[in-house]
């Protein structure tokens, strides 16, 4: 499936390689230094819960700023234009603010070490097993997908064989995550964030300069294939594939903005783990909120270059005019790479390559560090080998880091042969995510919800999403029957929405028929049964306004609404 993409080979010179090598020296150095602070399993898995909020906040978004995000969102920018902004302003920021304001107190305040562990304390082992196993399996496979994407990009731009870059990248991620645990991953994510910005910001500026500034961008896009539609974010019919404008808006707001994004940002342990590493409850709440501010502005250096690439890169604009035919050498995914090839001189090129590699590794390291925590605490310690000393579980974590990396290399090898299969697997994992938010939010605010309802809701919600995907036109490839007139993003919004509704209905019905957990076991887990003091400490009572999670979140919400209005 790899075509001759030598047209995309970047003209990297010695100085570019030196700059990339320098970056990796720093990455490994951080792993080595972070090792010195790891002496307990909590240090390894949760950074000893000691990090300041700006560090965990930046790591929170950097963990998500992986391959899928940068290549995928610039590709969406090239294809759909400004509507891609919804993935950030509707599909991320509100959920991050909600996590900090509403849900983080439960996660951090109850003292759990992982999201599945919260599930176990609230609903017992049924829901816990469903959640822990689906999460762990998804993480190693996604790590493999990240690894494969990284290797293909390195192959395309530098000409290295796929297997060489797969193994080299895996060894680098392995060495710092196995040495320094979550701290090494988080500190590297912060470093990666800066390098990614240093790579993409100049690229955006130079691309804007080339197209003639903002005015030039507006004029040229109007005159291009996408036309004026590509300059508007609402109602986003191109993005959703839903033709009726108001239904498209509903799809974006409810499907993407509510179910999908809340499911992802508030229950995905890859993200939540970063905030849980904060050193106090108010820092933990601030982490996703602080992260939301840069998150609002990241699309300007990811989506805008994509939009520009579709206009000024001749291959891209031809490809777009032809409607993005399958089997073409050109792909929307390569939008950023084309810009790098055309616009960056040696020097800046090296930094841009380092930034891209940084983003790929950020994604993979995040998957692996979340995986080994859930595996060690939630699967191994809970069900396999209980009651050993802490050092034992630290050892398990280190071993599992190696195992997960090995599996990821294997997954990457499979992905290189069956890329469609990987797409569908990712779609499937999305289905596991969709009902989680419903179960969590019900469980946190309704004390009556019973343990049986916990797992029953999850399973039936997931099943509902799968059914919708099967009925859609193309969500699961040939398996989809096309009974529903939905395709692309619109189909996944609908699947997520169905998962949410079915989860809520099943949970309520089952709860009313089964016995709830005794109330005394639910302190810290259910809002009405938790004294307010559990959610705050002396620090959180006397914070100035710019540190108060709720006030910060309010500012964030206003800002994101302003952005939506300006760029509607």
């Amino acid at each position: 499936m790899l075509m001759d993409t030598s047209a995309l080979r970047l003209d990297a010179g010695p100085i570019d390689y030196v700059l990339v090598a320098l970056y990796f020296t720093f990455v490994l150095g951080i792993g080595y230094v972070a090792r010195r602070q790891v002496s307990t399993s909590l240090d390894f898995f949760l950074s000893g819960r000691s990090l300041p909020a700006w560090v965990t906040g930046l790591a929170f978004i950097a963990a998500n700023l992986g391959a899928v995000e940068i290549m995928g969102m610039s590709a969406n920018g090239a294809e759909f234009g400004m509507a891609t902004m919804h993935y950030f302003w509707i599909g991320a920021v509100p959920a991050m603010l909600f996590l900090g304001v509403v849900m983080m107190p439960f996660y951090y305040g109850s003292g759990v070490r992982s999201v599945p562990e919260f599930m176990r304390r609230r609903f017992g082992t049924g829901a816990h097993l469903v959640n822990a196993i689906s999460f762990a399996v998804a993480q190693v496979l996604i790590a493999g997908v990240n690894l494969y994407l990284l290797a293909t990009i390195v192959n395309v731009i530098l000409g290295w064989p796929i297997w060489v870059s797969t193994i080299v990248a895996a060894l680098i991620v392995l060495s710092y995550t196995a040495l320094g645990g979550l701290s090494a991953a988080i500190y590297n994510e912060v470093l990666q964030f800066f390098v990614i910005v240093a790579a993409l910001a100049p690229l955006t500026i130079i691309a804007l300069h080339k197209i003639g500034g903002v005015d030039g961008l507006v004029d040229k896009v109007k005159g291009s294939t996408g036309g004026e539609e590509n300059l508007k974010s609402w109602p986003g019919t191109g993005l959703t594939g839903i033709e009726t404008p108001w239904l498209s808006v509903v799809g974006i707001v409810f499907g993407l903005g509510f179910v999908l994004s809340f499911g992802y940002w508030t229950t995905n342990f890859v993200e939540v783990q970063r905030a849980m590493a904060s050193r106090s409850i108010s820092s933990a709440r601030r982490a996703p909120i602080i992260g939301a501010f840069p998150k609002m502005f990241i699309p300007f250096i990811v989506v805008i270059p994509g939009i520009i690439a579709a206009v000024i890169v001749p291959e891209m604009s031809k490809y777009k005019a032809a409607g993005g035919p399958d089997g073409s050498e050109v792909k929307y995914n390569y939008a950023i790479l084309y810009l790098m090839r055309d616009l960056l001189p040696n020097g800046m090129l090296g930094i841009a390559i380092a930034g891209l590699l940084a983003s790929f590794m950020a994604g993979m390291a995040a998957n692996i560090s979340a995986f080994n925590t859930v595996f060690s605490y939630d699967i191994w310690q809970q069900y396999v080998v209980k009651d050993k000393e802490d050092g034992y579980y630290l050892g398990v974590g280190r071993v599992m880091t190696v195992v997960a990396t090995a599996i990821a290399i294997g997954t990457a090898a499979i992905a290189s042969g069956y890329s469609n299969l990987m797409d569908y697997l990712q779609t499937l994992f999305g289905f596991f995510n969709a009902p989680l938010f419903a179960t969590f939010i019900l469980g946190m605010f309704w004390k009556r919800m019973s343990p049986t309802a916990g797992w029953a809701g999850l399973v039936s919600g997931t099943a509902a999403a799968v059914v919708v995907a099967l009925l859609s036109k193309d969500s699961l490839g040939d398996l989809s029957t096309g009974a529903l007139n939905l395709s692309g993003q619109g189909a996944s919004f609908a699947a997520a929405g169905a998962a949410f509704v079915v989860d809520v209905v099943v949970s309520v019905v089952v709860s009313l028929m089964t016995r709830p957990k005794p109330e005394k076991e639910l302190r810290g887990l259910v809002y009405s049964l938790t004294p307010k003091e559990d959610f705050e400490d002396d620090e959180s009572r006397s914070l100035p306004w710019y540190q108060s999670p709720v006030k910060l979140a309010g500012i964030g919400l206003v800002l994101v609404i302003i952005l939506n209005v300006i760029f509607h």
């Binding site: 700059l19 002496s39 399993s41 560090v55 080339k210 400490d537």
Partner: protein, 168 residues
């Protein structure tokens, strides 16, 4: 007791080092090798030069931040490993911590700036803390989280590095 700061191992300084080196290399490249071909490529904009200056400036700001608000390493940071129970207790301790000596100090920006440290390492669910170098706080169970302070770039007590308004 002299305060020991994280110095070069502060994550902010590590980032500043990398970004600073990148910036210097780019500035040199911008001056040295801006031939017409390269300039044409980047649409007449000497991007190496300008991006280089921006990175040098960003690095300088990070260093300035870490100088103004240094990470201070608590001297008792070197500690041994612990058992799972201790670590777990610590995690829950954080949650239950309602009252304690450190919270108040940490909330007060000016006190904190003097190097207050705040710990949540206590197996019995009580927050311990210490103000300046006095080390008066009680430690029910010192064996766990405090080790995180042993790292040179552990920001364990930069109580307000996250309080910088510019973060937002």
């Amino acid at each position: 007791m002299a305060k020991k700061t994280a110095g070069a191992f502060d994550i902010r300084n590590i980032i500043a080092m990398l970004v600073g080196i990148y910036g210097i290399v780019l500035v040199v490249m911008g001056f040295a090798s801006a031939d017409q071909h390269e300039l044409d490529k980047s649409d007449g904009l000497n991007i190496n030069l300008w991006a280089g200056w921006a990175m040098v400036a960003a690095a300088a700001l990070l260093v300035l931040w870490s100088v103004l608000r240094p990470v201070v390493i608590p001297p008792e940071a070197e500690q041994g490993a612990s058992g799972a129970v201790g670590a777990r207790g610590a995690a829950e301790g954080t949650a239950a911590a309602g009252a304690g000596t450190a919270g108040a100090a940490a909330a007060d920006g000016t006190t904190a700036a003097d190097g207050t440290t705040e710990r949540t390492a206590d197996g019995v669910g009580e927050r311990t803390g210490r103000v300046d170098d006095t080390q008066t706080a009680t430690h029910g169970d010192e064996q766990n989280i405090s080790t995180s302070g042993a790292s040179a770039f552990e920001p364990g007590d930069q109580d307000h590095s996250d309080e910088e308004p510019k973060d937002t």
